[in-house]
């Protein structure tokens, strides 16, 4: 799941997947701005066939939180 999330992030942020580390977050990824955050949200929803709540959308600010939230929503590995 983490690798798939990394691939989605790399695609949305326009960077090589190798640059998305385990500690990737809005603070460490320069391209992670408000617009790309929403692009990331819809891309993750499409990839994992889940629906985030508005509160979850606000909180998806790191790879760890993304993976955690995807697991909570029952996304398939």
């Amino acid at each position: 799941m983490e690798d798939r999330a990394k691939r989605v992030m790399a695609s949305v942020f326009g960077v090589d997947v190798a640059r998305i580390g385990a500690d990737a977050s809005a603070q460490t990824v320069e391209q992670w701005d408000s617009l790309r955050h929403m692009n990331l949200v819809v891309a993750l929803e499409e990839e994992f066939r889940v629906r985030f709540t508005d509160q979850q959308i606000d909180e998806l600010l790191s790879l760890r939180l993304i993976v955690l939230t995807l697991k909570e929503l029952g996304a398939k590995e």
Binding site: L35, M38, V42, E45
Partner: protein, 170 residues
């Protein structure tokens, strides 16, 4: 101050005149076009009343295909570049924007610091009234966007989107 505004009106009139001279476009009342040199239209397009089309000072093309209709009050902000496929129709008050504010910048400046991302829309898309197409959005062919949706991200062909953020409905 009056002279400044008169000059501006004359410049806008010239831009509109150039557009209708060059392209097969039906232009209704109170249409505004800026940076027309970066804008191109296909055959038999319509700009309904109150449409505002902003080309690109940065030279990014705003390409509008054949038989495209932009509904009344629509706005295309094309600084980052826009491509709209043939037969795509917009309802009233649709906004397509390719620019957004840089929230990391000093927001109290005469010129806002903006970021840009192009928008691409395929052939035969229908965009409902009041929808907002955000920078970087890619829509495939024959997509439908429900009224008042806010669209982000990349989507394939024949997708139906609704909501804010817009999600797949079919």
């Amino acid at each position: 101050m009056i002279l400044k505004n008169v000059r501006h009106r004359l410049r806008l009139f010239r831009q509109l005149w150039l557009l209708t001279w060059r392209y097969d476009v039906l232009v209704e009342k109170a249409v505004t076009v800026k940076y027309v040199e970066t804008i191109s239209f296909g055959r038999k397009c319509t700009l309904q009343s109150g449409v505002y089309v902003y080309g690109s000072r940065r030279g990014n093309p705003v390409r509008i295909g054949d038989f495209v209709a932009i509904g009344a009050g629509g706005m295309l902000l094309g600084e980052g570049g826009i491509s709209i496929g043939d037969y795509t129709h917009f309802g009233p008050r649709v906004v397509v924007t390719t620019q957004y504010g840089d929230a990391e910048s000093d927001m109290c400046q005469e010129e806002a610091v903006l970021k840009y991302a192009p928008v691409r829309m395929g052939r035969g898309c229908w965009i409902g009234a009041g929808a907002v197409i955000m920078p970087g959005t890619v829509l495939g062919e024959r997509c439908i966007v429900a009224p008042n949706s806010v669209v982000f991200g990349s989507w394939g062909d024949a997708v139906s989107l609704a909501g804010s953020p817009a999600r797949r409905r079919g």
